[in-house]
């Protein structure tokens, strides 16, 4: 009887220890990377795109969601679970014509953004995937949140629209 209780205690202790170790590793791991795919549905790490006056609500067709940007700029927050050095963002979007889509990362309090043009772009199945890189050491972090913007200046002077399909974030140590 006491042997069974002892064994149960040891097993429970090991399981609890493993869970705590897993959480410590996830939060303080000195190596590794994190990939976040934001498919416009609720996400713990990415806030919804805002303000509503410049972007439509997500329209979901089966598992695929889209949002249409018709104003400039739109914002979102990224929650950093732990410290990373660099960030690569892949934005998948659709537009009828060639359009300049930029991404910005807030670097100081107030309206101070590091605006980047796409470093590369790939087109497939009518969608374009543009890549942007940011050094996270320059980011202004507000309670572990970093604010980003999607800037499409052409939207201010025309009736053009851009359909956002997804955002992929690759965080590196």
């Amino acid at each position: 009887m006491t042997q069974i209780i002892k064994s149960t205690r040891i097993i429970l202790l090991i399981l609890a220890g493993l869970l705590i170790l897993y959480l410590i590793w996830q939060n303080f791991s000195p190596i590794g990377s994190q990939t976040i795919i934001f498919d416009l549905k609720d996400n713990k790490f990415i806030s919804k795109l805002n303000p509503d006056a410049r972007i439509t609500e997500p329209e979901c067709n089966e598992s695929l969601c889209t949002q249409t940007i018709f104003g400039d700029p739109v914002y979102f927050d990224l929650l950093l679970a732990r410290n990373f050095k660099s960030l690569n963002i892949e934005l998948t979007y659709q537009s009828e014509e060639s359009i300049d889509v930029r991404l910005g990362m807030q670097v100081k309090e107030g309206w101070n953004y590091m605006i980047k043009n796409k470093s590369s772009e790939v087109e497939s199945n009518g969608s374009k995937t543009a890549s942007y890189s940011f050094p996270l050491s320059s980011a202004w972090k507000n309670n572990r949140h970093i604010n980003f913007l999607i800037s499409i200046p052409e939207l201010q002077s025309s009736d053009k629209k851009v359909i956002i399909r997804s955002l992929r974030f690759d965080l590196q140590r």
Binding site: I4, R9, L23
Partner: protein, 59 residues
């Protein structure tokens, strides 16, 4: 049967301590637990184990 009751009591104690530890960690370091683990799983297991313990004690 008695062995199972004792094991359940041990599980209950372990889950209670673990849930409290996770709660304190989440309270002090926001997101430490919730970003990677759903602690409701522990709470549900704790409630079930507690109900079984209470029932066996009453019997």
């Amino acid at each position: 049967m008695k062995t199972l009751i004792t094991i359940n009591q041990e599980v209950f104690k372990a889950l209670l301590v673990l849930y409290l530890v996770l709660f304190v960690l989440e309270y002090t370091l926001s997101g430490f637990v919730s970003l990677y683990f759903n602690s409701s799983i522990i709470l549900v297991a704790l409630i079930i184990s507690g109900c079984i313990s209470a029932k066996t004690i009453l019997e």
